[in-house]
Amino acid sequence: MKLWWSLGLRIIVFGLLLAFLLQPYWFAPLLKPLTQNNAPAIYNQGSLLSLTLSHLQIVLIATVAATVLGVTLAILVTRKFGAEFLALSRSLVNIGQTFPPVAVLALAVPAVGFGEKPTLIALFLYGLLPIFENTLTGLTTLQPSVIEAARGAGMTGWQRLLKVELPLAFPVILGGIRLSMVISLATATIGSTVAAKTLGEVIIAGLLSNNLAFVLQGGLIVAVLAVLIYDSLSALERLMARRMGA
């Protein structure tokens, strides 16, 4: 019963988001009270749908790239030949996390120019950290007896990694990807300050023209996207973890 409730709620939220993106003018009366001097209630300098898709696209590309590199690096430093980099990589991750996203974004501009690229770089670098950290945690906290059994069964290093270590660490890695995506979804809005096509455009347009309706719709779309993605990835994690009896 409770399951149906929560599933129903998610479907309704997703449906509302879809309706808002496809037919935003249906919702104009709701947002009208937030505007002043007859300003438009719905963002009119571009399509909300295409901004949302472009926003998601940037986040997805950055997350995929961060996942590939983050997981690869974590695998390398947990192998025998990379072991001496393990402690150093931990320190670097710690230091890296102190760099504010805005600073990374602004500093990337001179190197690659305005537009999507600096945003992608900032999201990629910032998203790399949680994924690397979680993969590291996942790979270094495996039950020793399981790894011992895998060795004892005659698995080669590759076989152990692919058949035992990565599958067992997968829920934790997924947690890192989830964290990284949620951070990226929010950070991508700042990308609009360097001319990336994201939902930040709507928010900033609202801030510039003092139109609260714009700020609210831009912010809400991002927040709803983040909640939905966070929620579905958490559900997937729980499912995987339950299979393993965690």
Binding site: L88, I95, F99, P100, A103, L107, A186, I203, G219, V227
Partner: protein, 378 residues
């Protein structure tokens, strides 16, 4: 042969052979000309610096004692810092106040390579918390001394600074007030809230879920959304505007940072309290402690390191997020970052970004040391 040494030497070789050490621009706006290390610094100092850097990069290759590596990398970093100052003096024509000299990719790569070497050495040494704080202090004093001595005055970032000295310190003040003030407010509210959540189970899920949702709202949107309610309060609540509440400016930024800060503080308080061993709580009850005594003498001290970790997360996060306040007129170092982005003036971006990163980094080192110290005592 040291594996990390290979990376460091390769980076240094690339930086010294291929990348420019500094950029020279006739004025703030025009594109720059790359200058190599040998041309950037006057002879014979250039040769000395080059030889020193090469020697240290080669030293990184061989397996030596950790202390030697640390000392060598610190020497290299100091030499780089001095050399870039000298380059600025050397490249700027006498009496020309338009010319701009900035560190270029070669400098940053070298700095990164040797910082990597130093980080590696420090990671291996695992210095105790006190030593770490001392090292942070020495570094800060060293940078202050370099700034004071004027050896960096020729650098473009300091030229930007000199034309904005007054506003720079004002924005630093705003930045720190925003970050620390919202942290203080979040601690005052978040700690008791965390306690309540620990004691009252149904409250826990509700509070943590709401705070989680707040975290997903992008910062610029949250900052913007607070403009209206705070504006309303300022005009309708008597005395509100007198204490600084206003629709735009620092107030919405402060409230937004406060809201973002609540989750780590509350969540870590709950986690910390939940992590207190049941046996310790039972023993405290067994010896006849009251609820209040248990809380102040057993539960809070045991949960303290975890709560402190939450505060560390908040502080580092707030120092970074406070840059966004500039977008809604809230001030802070973000002012220079966004102005710089608007004018495509990198030096201005750096003037905002470098102190922000430095503060966040220092806060992280300081709090990590304190947390370790507290854990050791526990």
């Amino acid at each position: 042969m040291d594996k990390l040494g290979v990376v460091i030497t390769a980076l240094a070789a690339y930086a010294l052979l291929i990348s420019p050490f500094a950029t020279f621009r006739a004025n703030r706006i025009v594109p720059g000309d790359p200058v190599g290390l040998l041309n950037a610094v006057a002879t014979p100092v250039n040769g000395l610096v080059l030889a020193l850097l090469i020697a240290i990069a080669l030293l990184a290759l061989v397996k030596t004692s950790v202390i030697a590596r640390l000392v060598a990398s610190v020497v290299a970093i100091v030499a780089l810092c001095l050399a870039i100052g000298l380059a600025a003096q050397h490249l700027t024509p006498e009496g020309n106040s338009y010319a701009r000299v900035a560190p270029a990719s070669g400098f940053w790569l070298l700095l990164f390579a040797f910082a990597l070497m130093a980080t590696d050495a420090l990671t291996r040494l695992q210095p105790p918390p006190g030593v770490r704080i001392l090292a942070l202090l020495v570094t800060a004093l060293g940078i202050a001394a370099l700034l004071k001595s004027g050896s960096w005055d020729g650098l473009s970032i300091l030229k930007e600074y000199s034309t904005r000295a007054a506003s720079f310190w004002r924005e630093v003040g705003t930045h720190v007030t925003l970050a620390l003030g919202s942290l203080a407010a979040a601690t005052v509210i978040g700690l008791p809230l965390g306690l309540l959540c620990h004691r009252i189970r149904p409250l826990r899920a509700a509070v943590l879920n709401s705070l989680n949702i707040i975290q997903t709202i992008p910062s610029i949107a949250l900052f913007g959304l607070l403009i209206a309610p705070l504006g309303w309060i300022a005009t309708h609540v008597p005395g509100a505007s007198a204490v600084g509440i206003a629709g735009i400016g620092a107030a919405p930024a402060f409230v937004a940072l406060f809201l973002y800060s609540l989750l780590p503080v509350v969540a870590n308080t709950v986690t910390g309290l939940a992590g207190v061993p049941q046996a310790a709580v039972d023993a405290a009850r067994g010896v006849g402690m009251t609820l209040w005594q248990r809380l102040t003498k057993i539960e809070l001290p045991l949960a303290f390191p975890v709560i402190l970790t939450g505060i560390r997360i908040v502080l580092v996060q707030n120092i970074g997020l406070a840059t966004i306040a500039a977008l809604i007129g809230g001030g802070g170092l973000g002012v220079f970052v966004f102005q710089g982005v608007g004018q495509t003036a990198m030096d201005l971006v750096l003037l905002g970004a470098v102190p922000t990163v430095a503060m966040a980094f220092a806060a992280a080192v300081l709090l990590d040391a304190i947390i370790d110290k507290v854990r050791m005592q526990a």
